[in-house]
Each structure stands twice: as C-alpha cells, then as structure tokens.
C-alpha cells in the first residue's frame, strides 16, 4: 500500500515553482530519504504532504486523501522540524504530556527515557533551549508520537555529531520496534544513507530520481584514463560529472553498461570505479556537469 501518491504536483510562489510537476509514490513502512540541495523544494513538498500548504496544481494523496486541511490525514502524521513551536508557558515535561493526548500510540517510556538521556531538564522552557537542544527535543516528540507517517525535515539542525549518531540509532531502534512510514529530509546523504531504504532526490522542485538505496550504489560509475582511450564508450551515455587531472580524465556516467562492455572497458586500460552515493547525489543535483571548476574554466 502506498502512503503517499502524487502526480504532476506543482507549487507556485509568485513566478517561482518551488515544486514542479512532481510524481512519485512512497510505500508503507519504509524509511525514505528526501535528498536535495537547499532550495530544491524539500520543505515545500513536505509541508504539502503535511497539509500545511495548498498545492497549486497536480494531484497528491496521503493515506488516500488530499492532505490540505484534512483532519484524517493530520491525525496520522507528525511533522518535525526545527521551527516547531510550543506555547512559551509550557515546560518540556508539560509539552510531552500534552502531546500524549494528541497521539494514540504515544510512547511515554521512550519520551521520558530520551528526555533523561539527552539531559533535557523537564522544567525547562522550549524557547530557552539551544538550537541543537530544541532539535533534540522535537525529535523526541517525533519518535514518541509513533505516527503512521513521521516526517523529519532536516531534523539534525544544530545537533552535535554525538547526538546525531544517537538520534539515528534511536530512530532505527524505534522503527524496528514499531515499523512506520518515515520521511527524512537532508541536504546530505552520507550520514543517513544506512538508515534509508529508498531515496527520493529532488532538483529544482522536480524529481531527479527515486531508487532503493542499494541501487543508488550501482547508479553511476566513474571512469578514469586518457580521454581517447574511453572516447568510444561514452558516445551515448549521460555524463554526470567530469574532471581533468593532467592527462587523465575522470568522468562519472550512468551505469548502464552491459557485462561484456564492462569487460572491454576493463581491458582497454580505463579504470572503472564505483561512485559513492553521496557523490552521485551531488553530481545529479549540480547546476552543470563540470561542477565548480566550470566557473573558473570560463573565466580563464
């Protein structure tokens, strides 16, 4: 069963399309990573899913319903980001007990345990927390609510490395205990890669690709060698990235070489190397094929 289905989804702000003709589905009980650069439309998309924003065009259903202003969708999801706001009069412990009233699957044991583990003072007020502490607290709410659809928008903002690590582990353990659909947005893939089952990559408000994380490893391949040596192989392939290092050229291309072709490449003296998923994402979402180097080449 698909929790989220959308087709041709578009969100326009003035003349800018924050989300542009986006079509994808997210299946139940999977952890999906929503990856994209800043301004790729991640937050806009997530807020449309959460029912906060109204779509401009296209179709979107969450739990088979249009999410905008829909109580039946709102009941089943929680949206966690660093701008979650709470009444200033409430202490952290009061916020947690309030949240418990809203979510039928609320897990008090986890909420209290994590609050204690991360040394958050129950009597503290949310607005006095540091950025990282606030993110940690919001994450606790996201975990303990155990909503069928849990959305984390850049959840680790401000957290230090140790807390981030704990967060990912807590997220995973809780997911194993109670599988549910989780969307985790980030501009960086490498940290969350292991947690994910699927990746949805956005670029300029459009879908660049959606793949199981394992396939993303095979998605691209790096070739290095003298340019003339591999010229014959790259006539009809997508070049994602290229870089000149002396006489040797390094290019990253989509990996749709057949087995025999791979062997021939190997024999031709061109070195074939896998490309890290993180790099794949960077190349796919880059403005142009040459990366930052292009800017400097042109000015020469």
């Amino acid at each position: 069963m698909n929790v989220i289905e959308c087709s041709g989804l578009t969100k326009v702000y003035g003349s800018r399309k924050a989300v542009n003709d986006l079509s994808f589905t997210i299946a139940e009980n999977k952890i999906t990573g929503l990856i994209g650069r800043n301004g790729a439309g991640k937050t806009t998309l997530l807020k449309i899913i959460a029912g906060y924003y109204r779509k401009s065009a296209g179709k979107i259903t969450v739990f088979s319903k249009n999410p905008f202003n829909n109580i039946q969708v709102a009941e089943k999801l929680i949206f966690v980001d660093d701008r979650m706001s709470f009444p200033p009069a409430l202490a952290l412990s009061e916020i947690l007990s309030s949240a418990a009233a809203f979510y039928p699957h609320w897990n008090k044991r986890i909420a209290d345990g994590l609050l204690n583990y991360f040394q958050l003072e129950p009597k503290e007020k949310h607005q006095y927390l540091s950025k990282g502490m606030a993110s940690t607290f919001n994450m606790i709410i996201g975990l303990a609510s155990r909503c069928p659809l849990t959305i984390y928008d850049e959840p680790t903002t401000g957290m230090d490395a140790a807390v981030r690590k704990d967060f990912y582990r807590a997220l995973l353990k809780d997911y194993i205990e109670q599988p549910r659909t989780i969307i985790l947005s980030s501009h960086l893939l490498n940290e969350i890669e292991d947690l994910l089952e699927d990746v949805l990559l956005l670029r300029g408000g459009s879908k660049e690709l959606q793949l199981p994380i394992a396939e993303l490893k095979h998605y691209a391949v790096g070739l290095s060698g003298r340019e003339e040596a591999f010229a014959e192989f790259i006539n009809d392939v997508d070049i994602l990235h290229q870089k000149q290092m002396g006489n040797v050229k390094y290019i990253v291309v989509r990996n749709n070489f057949s087995e025999s072709l791979q062997k021939r490449i190997g024999m031709s003296g061109v070195e074939m190397t896998p490309v890290a998923t993180d790099d794949v994402c960077v190349y796919l979402t880059a403005g142009n094929k040459g990366g930052i180097d292009d800017v400097f080449h042109r000015s020469e």
């Binding site: 194993i176 089952e197 394992a214």
Partner: protein, 128 residues
C-alpha cells in the same frame, strides 16, 4: 566490524561478506539460526531492508536457507560453498585485474607466472 558507508561496496554486500566471515570463523555453526534482519539492522544501525537484502544475497547463493516462520539458517556445507564462491568469483576478478595490469606494464605471460611462483615460494618459506 565497522561498515564503511563511503566505501564502494553497497552496505548489503558488506553485510553479506561479514556474515560469511562469521560462518568461516565458526561463530555460527551449520544448521544454526542466522541473525534476523532486525538483529542485523540494530547491530549496524542500518535499515532492516538493507540487512534483509544481505541475507537474501546469501540465501540466493544457497549459503542460508529459509525455514518458514523461523528465519534463516546456515546450510550444512556453508563453509565449503563460501570458499568455493570466493575461489570462483573473487579470485577470478582479481586474476582478471592482474592480467590487465600486466598487459599495461608489458609483462609477458611467462614473467607473470614466474612472479606468482616466487611469491608462493616466499610465503611457504615464511610459514615454515
């Protein structure tokens, strides 16, 4: 073992290899129950689906077998199969790379075989 997320091998392959190592080292005996995908997910902080993929990889190679409702178990001749597989696959690719490199360096077939023999001899002497 520590997973290497920046590494070139997919995580599920790394998981499969780690499980093979566990079997080879005798940490998990024949016909014993293999870790579940959730145990693996927790051990390595990875998505259970990824862990499952690692297990399935071994099942596809008949190193593990499924018992309905009970999980994955190690086949009785798992060690042999692993060794056989590594011979046929791992060693073969290594040799292929070796041959390609030798060609690049203009090393003749005879020279290459000679080098291999020398190294084998050295190793034998060292271990004695």
């Amino acid at each position: 073992m520590k997973l290497n997320p920046d590494g070139m091998k997919p995580i599920y392959v790394q998981i499969a290899e780690w499980l093979e190592a566990e079997i080879l080292a005798g940490n998990i005996q024949s016909d014993e129950k293999m870790y579940s995908q959730y145990q693996l997910a927790e051990m390595f902080t990875i998505n259970p689906a990824t862990a499952g993929k690692g297990l399935n990889l071994l099942a596809d190679e008949d190193i593990l077998y499924k018992k309905r409702g009970l999980g994955m178990f190690v086949v009785s001749d798992a060690k042999e199969r692993i060794l056989e597989k590594r011979k046929s696959q791992v060693l073969k690719t290594m040799v292929m790379e070796l041959v390609a490199e030798a060609e690049r360096l203009d090393v003749s077939e005879g020279e290459l075989l000679e080098m291999i023999k020398t190294i084998q001899k050295q190793k034998r002497e060292e271990s004695q």
